[in-house]
């Protein structure tokens, strides 16, 4: 135990003096997620606010042929401009992105409108263009509204009740967009938390194994009369300590970011307070030794720092797989899923964020399965360190 403590202290001291390790473990790793999350959420909020304005920009060709229609559109909130091109050039102008949505009033519009025949207008838009798709849809809806208003007037003029032309009315209430976004955002947040956990130990794990070998200090170390278990254990423990610190910093940053963001406008609950941050910490702490042992194990096979970096960085992808799996199959927390580390943590955190209750059994199984996997990985790593090939 004393040897384990000695190794632990030395690894902490050494890495604490390494600026690159410190930056990645305590700044980049834990803060990247919350900052990215903050930027993404504020952009989505801004977009939603934009669509809420319901205003439409339209370039109009030959608007003088339909003054009533233009007056209606302006009254409905559309911003109209005279298009700087003619009918023929409209299509290519939209294609090249020089114009957003173009309304063309053909030559025969006034005559047909006057005679009560269907009067055609053309709406040119690019449906693949995210920026103008909303405008096109809203312009279409406005034109539809104008058409039915005219139809009602004509029926009234002919003495027919306009209601007869509306046998069914549909009121659709769309709740999907906001909550769907909220769900994917939650997945993102739990991923960032697990990412911070792993980043917190990335360079620790590399330095303690491949770094030891690359510096040439490994052989002298292996000749010291201490158990390999104490050596590997001390290294994994030091990596774990850094990861726990990174987790704490990440959660604190999320507290700040979520406090500043207007999440309610997205239909997300913002009750991620200090208490929930502590609960997140408790949920994720059993995952810490899993990541530490896994990265140490992987790095034990590599010959150099550079090699270790590429292999251990691949380990950072590990938490994404269960989260992707969980969102594809819309998994909810259940004891069966709790045996899968990283998936269990993701599901438990998601439950908390969606204010669904968490079963005590789920918590216990999640923690126990994670710690068990960590132990298995530790045993494998220790075995690898006993092998002669460790020297390289």
């Amino acid at each position: 135990m004393r040897a384990l403590w000695t190794v632990f202290r030395k690894e902490l001291l050494e890495n604490a003096r390494d600026r690159r390790t410190l930056f990645s473990a305590l700044v980049f790793g834990p803060l990247l997620g919350p900052l990215l999350f903050g930027v993404m959420v504020s952009r989505i909020v801004a977009e939603d606010a934009g669509s809420a304005r319901q205003s439409v920009s339209l370039a109009v060709v030959h608007g003088e042929r339909a003054p009533d229609l233009l007056a209606y559109l302006t009254a409905a909130g559309a911003r109209l401009q005279r298009a700087p091109f003619g009918e023929r050039a409209a299509r290519s102008a939209v294609e090249r992105g020089r114009a957003g949505v173009v309304l063309i009033v053909p030559r025969d519009y006034p005559r047909r409108f006057e005679h009560g025949e269907p009067a055609r207008v053309l709406l040119v838009a690019d449906s693949a263009d995210n920026a103008t798709r909303g405008d096109a849809a809203r312009a279409g809806a406005m034109l539809q509204a104008y058409a039915s208003a005219i139809a009602q007037l004509r029926l009234q003029v002919r003495g027919v009740d306009p209601l007869i032309a509306a046998p069914v009315t549909i009121d659709s209430i769309d709740v999907a967009s906001a909550s769907a976004r909220a769900v994917s955002l939650i997945g993102l947040m739990t991923y960032f938390v697990l990412f911070a956990v792993l980043m917190g130990g990335l360079y620790f794990a590399i330095d303690a194994t491949a770094g030891e070998r690359e510096r040439g200090s490994l052989e002298a170390l292996l000749m010291v009369p201490i158990a390999r278990g104490a050596l590997v254990g001390g290294k994994i423990l030091a990596t774990s300590a850094s990861m726990a610190a990174s987790l704490a910093i990440c959660l604190a940053a999320f507290l700040g970011v979520l406090h500043l963001l207007p999440l309610e406008r997205l239909g997300m609950r913002s009750d991620f307070g200090p208490l929930m941050a502590l609960e997140f910490f408790a949920i994720c702490v059993p995952f810490v030794p899993v990541g530490a042992a896994l990265m140490t194990f992987v790095a034990s096979f590599t010959r150099s720092y550079r090699e270790a970096q590429s292999y251990v960085a691949a380990v950072l992808l590990v938490p994404t797989l269960p989260i992707a799996f969980a969102s594809i199959y819309s998994l909810r927390a259940s004891p069966a899923w709790m045996v899968v580390p990283s998936l269990s943590q993701h599901l438990l955190m998601t439950s908390l964020l969606e204010s669904r209750p968490i079963g005590a059994l789920d918590l216990v199984v999640s923690a126990a399965s994670s710690l068990l996997l960590a132990l298995v990985l530790f045993v494998f790593t220790q075995r690898q360190w006993r092998r002669e090939t460790m020297l390289g």
Binding site: K10, G216, S217, L218, E219, A220, M223
Partner: protein, 252 residues
């Protein structure tokens, strides 16, 4: 005292060490001399216990390295081929770390480090981060690290590699002092002058086998040469002929 008894080690198809036996006595400096790839490092790693022999055994003060690894290792100080230090730690911290791993009380580690600081002339740099060290400074700290637990036996794998003349001189002086303290010193080298200047006994290794094991003077007499260098080359050439002979028979 370090004993090698019939050590054998294979790596895949290569016989790195074949039946190596010798004794490095207390109060003596024993040199393992051989060309590159002769099996010197493998031999020292078998003695240090980081490699396990396929056959044979290594003993340190009579203790089997394979059987009682901890007890044997506690009596051995090692300066491996790549005597790397932790760059972000100071020389003092590097030495103290190994002292602590040897379970030596902190107060005694401090005293030992101070003693070696004076003896090896490390006062200027001992408290600076090791990444700023020159090769000579690195070797001094690594030597102190190998000696911090006061081992009776010391193995050094090509310790003078990359050192300038001054540093080699200083190292020789220290090794000579350690010998007068009655320690057993075993070091490997492919540099003739070094071995002839220091060693009481020379074990010449070639192709993983012991080709000669004698005092420098006796080696010169035995090979009928006047300088040790000629003796070394003669013995190596004889060794190669012996190696090839059985192959020739097999082919015929």
């Amino acid at each position: 005292m370090i004993e090698a008894r019939g050590l054998c080690k294979r790596f895949g198809a290569i016989d790195a060490v074949r039946e190596i036996s010798f004794v490095a006595g207390d109060g003596r400096i024993t040199g393992l001399l051989g060309p590159n790839g002769a099996g010197k490092s493998t031999c020292l790693r078998l003695i240090g216990g980081v490699l396990a022999p396929d056959r044979g055994e290594a003993r340190i003060d009579g203790i089997d390295v394979g059987g009682e690894a901890s007890a044997a290792r506690a009596r051995l100080g090692a300066l491996p081929h790549a005597a790397g230090l932790y760059g972000h730690l100071t020389g003092r911290e590097n030495i103290a770390y190994f002292g602590a791993l040897h379970r030596i009380p902190a107060a005694r580690i401090g005293r030992e480090i101070d003693r070696w600081r004076e003896r090896l002339g490390m006062a200027d740099f001992l408290d600076r981060p090791a990444k700023s060290y020159s090769q000579g400074q690195r070797v001094k700290v690594a030597l102190a690290r190998a000696l911090v637990h006061e081992p009776r036996n010391l193995v050094l794998d090509e310790p003078t590699n990359g050192l300038d003349v001054m540093a080699i001189r200083a190292l020789r002086g220290v090794l000579a002092e350690l010998r007068t303290e009655g320690r057993c010193i075993l070091f490997s080298s492919h540099v003739m002058q070094e071995v002839s200047a220091l060693c009481d006994r020379i074990v010449i290794i070639g192709g993983g086998r012991v080709l000669a094991d004698d005092t420098p003077a006796a080696l010169r007499v035995r090979s009928g040469t006047t300088t040790l260098e000629e003796a070394f080359l003669r013995i190596l050439a004889d060794g190669e002929r012996e190696d090839e002979a059985p192959l020739g028979e097999g082919a015929a």
